[in-house]
């Protein structure tokens, strides 16, 4: 069998095993949470009998091992089960609860990735090309600054900036400044598009409207993830520039741009895609803070709410989606690393 195909199948198998182990961890972790849905739902005044009856109704009175296998059995068949919030005659499946939220999260993640990845690669390549120049220093400093702030801070600062468009001129601070300065700051602020600071999204929001409303969360996330990817691109290329074949390319009279793009970058993909995969996974798994700030209805918020109400099937499904995202993206990164390495792709 082609060694590349074999490696990919191996990784895929390992991914499935990892996912299986993750189900055990998720289930045990959630089983260890204090309280349960029945108690949380019925409140402290409920009698033990009512709680027990409710527990029986949603099936959490059965032993954990039995519940675990029932759950895994359902998942294997593609069924995530029903939310505890279902009532007789009003069944709410986990899938239908999660689907729109997952769509929103994916929407935001893809939109951010489309901005952040090319931006990071471009800046990284240019920084490597003009390393130690003022451009390199500015890019490094700015990206390092944005990654140093907590994401909620970046989010609130951006929101504040938008609000300041309309309010700056009336503030005491503005009035304490000379008039021309206040006017020019105001002019600059008004160059900023008036992005919505609250991301009101429903399933009826039209596509471009969705883009417009998701702009601020997307920019926040971009600022948070660009630095990591850009710095890795820069360093991976610079490391390659010390290779003898780069010297050779210089002695062949290649231009610096051709050296970086044609000779260094193709050998630098492996470390770069690993970092990109890591950051894209973060866009799905770690966005909850940004979702809260902009009230963006994504899967992160859904999971937090579900934990609060002890809606175990929803929590489990969310955790599983997160784990699968990580595994899948890392698998993709591995495959790209292999595909860009001719030693593996074209064995002797």
């Amino acid at each position: 069998m082609n060694p590349v195909v074999r490696t990919v199948l191996q990784r895929l198998g390992l991914g499935l095993i990892t996912l299986f182990i993750v189900t055990i961890i998720i289930f045990s972790a959630i089983a260890m949470l204090p309280g349960d849905f029945a108690k949380a739902m019925l409140g402290q005044s409920a009698t033990p009998e009512t709680v027990a009856a409710f527990q029986r109704e949603i099936g959490i009175d059965r032993p954990p091992v039995e519940r675990y296998f029932a759950w895994v059995g359902q998942i294997v068949q593609g069924d995530f089960g029903s939310s505890f919030a279902s009532r007789t005659g009003y069944r709410r499946t986990v899938a239908e609860i999660i689907a729109p939220r997952l769509y929103n999260t994916m929407f935001l993640a893809v939109m951010t990735a489309l901005i952040a990845v090319p931006l990071a690669l471009g800046l990284g390549i240019l920084a490597a090309l003009y390393r130690n120049s003022w451009f390199d220093r500015v890019v490094n400093t700015v990206t390092l600054t944005t990654i140093s702030f907590p994401e909620f801070f970046v989010a609130y600062m951006l929101a504040y900036l938008i609000i300041s468009r309309d309010t700056f001129i009336g503030t005491e601070f503005a009035q304490s400044l000379p008039e021309w300065l206040a006017a020019s700051i105001n002019w600059v602020l008004n160059l900023v598009p008036k992005f919505p600071t609250l991301a009101n999204i429903s399933d009826r929001t039209p596509f471009w409207e969705h883009v417009w409303r998701a702009a601020l969360p997307s920019i926040t996330l971009t600022l948070v993830i660009v630095a990591h990817m850009m710095r890795m691109t820069r360093v991976a290329i610079i490391n390659m520039l010390a290779s003898p074949y780069i010297d050779m390319a210089r002695l062949k009279g290649m231009s610096p741009m051709a050296i970086v793009l044609r000779h260094a970058l193709p050998n630098a993909w492996a470390p770069i895609v690993t970092v990109i995969a890591f950051n894209l996974a973060y866009l799905i798994v770690g966005v909850v803070v940004v979702e809260v700030v902009f009230v963006y209805p994504g899967i992160g918020q859904l999971m937090v709410d579900a934990v609060k109400s002890r809606d175990v099937p929803v929590v489990q499904a969310c955790a599983l989606i997160f784990a699968a995202t990580y595994i899948l993206l890392n698998l993709t990164a591995d495959i790209i690393s292999i595909a860009t390495n001719p030693r593996l792709l074209h064995p002797r």
């Binding site: 010297d247 050779m248 210089r250 002695l251 062949k252 009279g253 051709a258 050998n267 074209h346």
Partner: protein, 550 residues
């Protein structure tokens, strides 16, 4: 290049003229001179050999002839006139236009100098296309012609392979094709065959010589090997510490070098020791077969006897299994079958099963002293470690012994608190020898211990090893690919090829004809000082080939 009628071949007008070249390199926080005022000139179609030890500045001069200084180096003074134009006065863009198209470069390690991500053909034609000389299709067709002229196998398809898919000798020829692609006026060959086995070297040298002659290309041939440069160059320039020692026509230089330094450069080639037959054997290797990862057999039914107090040279090319043999003897790689007996007792197969005393009696010295020494340990720590570990020496007794050992390797005790980074290559190898000696071993395995050293240092190390053998009666297994080293040190010779022993016996038996066919090939491939050696060798081989065909 140099052909039979080299003296009479017509040389063209002046192509390159370097005057008062100074180059500096940056290290340890300051600029050091590398090249100090070198002049050289080259006519069209002429081949100049630059020769010297490491640090002589020969590669730096080669690169400077392209108007190029390595990162961390700078050209501080001088002029480099190429075809009448000063390279140093040009803009970088203008220099870039010359590089690859009119001045090309062939690097020492083709394996490292080809980009692993692209096919050979794409890399070969890259300069032609980038400099706008021809279309990609035309360039591809021409590259295939060049591959054929350089005797690469399957010239039509070899270009579609990636660098890791072809052998070292083929890569070096592909790199020559790459340099030739734009039909440059000048090619810099920077030690193009140093990393190759001798049998491969002959083929590459012949290909390079032929194609350079065919296109009447001028060349600067950088090497540390006088015998090689004698085959390739019309004129030789000897360099030392960034200065010219002397310069002369090849024949004149070989026949009558003017300077003492030049004579020392080939001193090691004249080193020869009379063999002494041994009374008994210290180590007997019996039908050893060994394999890596349980699959590929690297040694097949190898049987070797090592005489007590003598030196056995194990000779072979890369991949012949000679280093694997060392790993089997030391127990690092347990053999699949066969046995080894040492001083009359059977050696346990693996390192783990061997008692400390056996480990003490077999020591090893490696090719790269840099990698074999812990960079954070002082000389004293390096040498006292085996004294403590094997012999339990402590305090004053240990210090005295360290002093004795330093004396044995002819080094001062003032070196004791130095770190490896503060020593020269030869000194580092001496420390490795002292470390091996500290254990009072009966057998020392020397794995290419002089390959990474300059000729003069090689000679010193070989003399030291021979003296130590006379004084302490230690036996050596000397693994090497260099026949000159074998002549210098061996009592017996084992010739290995593809994991098998081809021939073994006393040195004179092996080195005097008739030889086994592989030994013949190996010995005849070792370059000799005679400037006509390569020409004669190729003629002899051609005759034999024709004779065999009839």
């Amino acid at each position: 290049m140099k052909s039979k009628n080299s003296g009479q071949r017509e040389k063209g007008t002046k192509l390159l003229s370097v005057r008062n070249l100074h180059v500096e390199g940056f290290s340890d926080e300051r600029w050091h001179p590398i090249v100090r005022g070198v002049d050289l000139s080259l006519n069209r179609g002429e081949v100049l050999g630059l020769i010297g030890e490491s640090g002589a500045g020969k590669s730096t001069i080669g690169l400077a002839a392209m108007g190029y200084a390595k990162p961390g180096c700078r050209i501080t003074q001088g002029s480099i006139l190429f075809d009448g134009v000063d390279l140093l006065a040009m803009t970088e863009t203008a220099r870039r236009r010359l590089r690859g198209s009119r001045i090309a470069y062939v690097a020492q390690s083709a394996a490292a100098s080809f980009n692993p991500a692209h096919r050979l053909l794409d890399q070969t034609v890259e300069t032609v296309v980038a400099h706008g000389i021809a279309s990609r299709e035309a360039a591809n067709r021409d590259a295939i012609k060049l591959y054929r002229r350089l005797h690469l196998p399957d010239p039509e398809t070899i270009g579609f392979r990636y660098p890791h898919q072809v052998s070292g000798g083929q890569l070096q020829r592909a790199m020559t094709a790459m340099a030739m692609a734009c039909r440059p006026d000048l090619i810099i060959f920077d030690e193009p065959t140093t990393a190759l086995d001798v049998t491969t070297q002959v083929e590459v040298l012949a290909s390079i010589r032929q194609i350079v002659e065919e296109f009447n290309t001028a060349a600067i041939y950088v090497t540390h090997d006088l015998a090689v440069v004698a085959q390739m160059a019309d004129r030789i320039m000897v360099l030392r510490h960034g200065r010219t020692v002397e310069e002369a026509e090849t024949r004149q230089m070989l026949a009558a070098p003017a300077e003492d330094y030049t004579r020392t450069l080939w001193a090691v080639r004249k080193l020869a020791k009379p063999e002494v037959p041994a009374a008994d054997h210290l180590l007997t290797i019996d039908n050893i077969t060994a394999a890596y990862a349980g699959k590929v057999k690297v040694l097949q039914d190898v049987s070797i006897k090592v005489p007590r107090g003598r030196t056995v040279a194990v000779v072979g090319e890369s991949g012949s299994g000679k280093s694997t043999l060392a790993r089997v003897i030391t127990g690092l790689l347990p053999p699949v079958s066969g046995s080894i007996s040492f001083a009359g007792h059977r050696l346990p197969r693996t390192l783990k099963e061997r008692p400390k005393d056996i480990l003490r009696r077999i020591q090893m010295i490696y090719q790269m002293p840099d990698n074999a020494l812990n960079p954070r340990q002082t000389v004293e720590e390096v040498i006292s470690r085996p004294l403590e570990f094997y012999l339990g020496l402590k305090g004053g007794a240990c210090d005295r012994r360290v002093g004795e050992l330093m004396h044995m390797i002819e080094m001062d005790e003032s070196f004791l608190d130095r770190l490896p980074s503060e020593l020269s290559g030869g000194q580092k190898q001496r420390i490795c020898i002292a470390r091996a000696l500290a254990a009072n071993p009966e057998l020392i395995i020397c794995d290419e211990v002089t390959s990474a050293l300059d000729q003069i240092v090689q000679e010193e190390i070989l003399k030291l090893l021979m003296r130590l053998q006379q004084e302490f009666g230690v036996s050596y297994i000397f693994i090497t690919h260099d026949i000159a080293t074998v002549r210098a040190i061996a009592d017996e010779i084992v010739v290995m090829h593809q994991g098998k022993v081809v021939e073994q016996g006393l040195k004179t038996e092996i080195l005097t004809p008739p030889h086994a066919p592989y030994t013949e090939l190996l010995l005849s491939s070792v370059p000799e000082m005679d400037p006509d050696w390569l020409t004669k060798l190729l003629e002899t081989r051609e005759r034999k080939r024709v004779g065999a065909a009839n």
